[in-house]
């Protein structure tokens, strides 16, 4: 179903209940890494033309409440087309709150440079129409 919308700007996010590499699962059942499941998950990524984007923050996204296991079941996958629109997109794994899963935020570092520093040159104020430009910008500014 997802493969049918190839070559589009797409983003798939969620709890896949699968991991991409064995090291994404840690816990008491370590010896029972399901290689077939990993292979199937990789096959799915390839068929749907999806890429795992770099993660920042916590390494695992799901912690068993009694602390015996942790794994990276949740992730954000995007297509190449998505990356051309939002280059440098990263997934930020946040701290765990009420759920046993962590929230993930996707941000494109290139678009999100934080607040821009205020700059003004004295000569601008001597230029004709300066007040109008400022007034117009102030009144039409929405976000």
């Amino acid at each position: 179903m997802l493969a049918s919308v190839n070559n589009s700007i797409k983003c798939v996010i969620g709890d896949f209940n699968s991991v991409r590499v064995a090291s994404e699962r840690k816990g008491i059942r370590n010896g029972l890494v399901n290689n077939r499941d990993i292979a199937r998950f990789r096959e799915f990524l390839e068929r749907c033309d999806l890429k795992d984007i770099p993660a920042v923050g916590r390494k695992y996204t799901r912690y068993r409440p009694n602390g015996t296991a942790r794994n990276r079941l949740d992730r954000v996958l995007v297509s190449d087309e998505w990356l051309t629109h939002w280059p440098g997109a990263k997934q930020y794994v946040l701290s765990r709150q009420v759920s046993d899963h962590c929230a993930i935020v996707v941000k494109s570092s290139i678009l999100d440079g934080g607040p821009k520093p205020f700059r003004s040159l004295d000569v601008w104020q001597q230029s004709e129409g300066f007040n109008d430009v400022v007034r117009n910008a102030w009144e039409t500014s929405t976000s």
């Binding site: 797409k10 798939v12 709890d15 699968s18 399901n34």
Partner: protein, 79 residues
Amino acid sequence: MFWSLGSNDVSWVHRGIDSEGGGILTLWDNKVFNCTKFVDGKGYVLVEGEYKYVSSCKVVKVVMMNIYAPCSSKEKVLL
């Protein structure tokens, strides 16, 4: 899923909780995203629509899929 800062103009699609528990909720900000189509399937919610750049008013077509995969491998293959 798509958000501009401090907006409260919101729409959503949700998939109810089934016997295994766990619902899916996809929310978006109407200021930056206009949903044109959605599919509410077993284990996923797919939303298709237009993303509007606030700065340039440019519009791009985007597909977003929100997944809650089952634990059993049999059902995972189905998904």
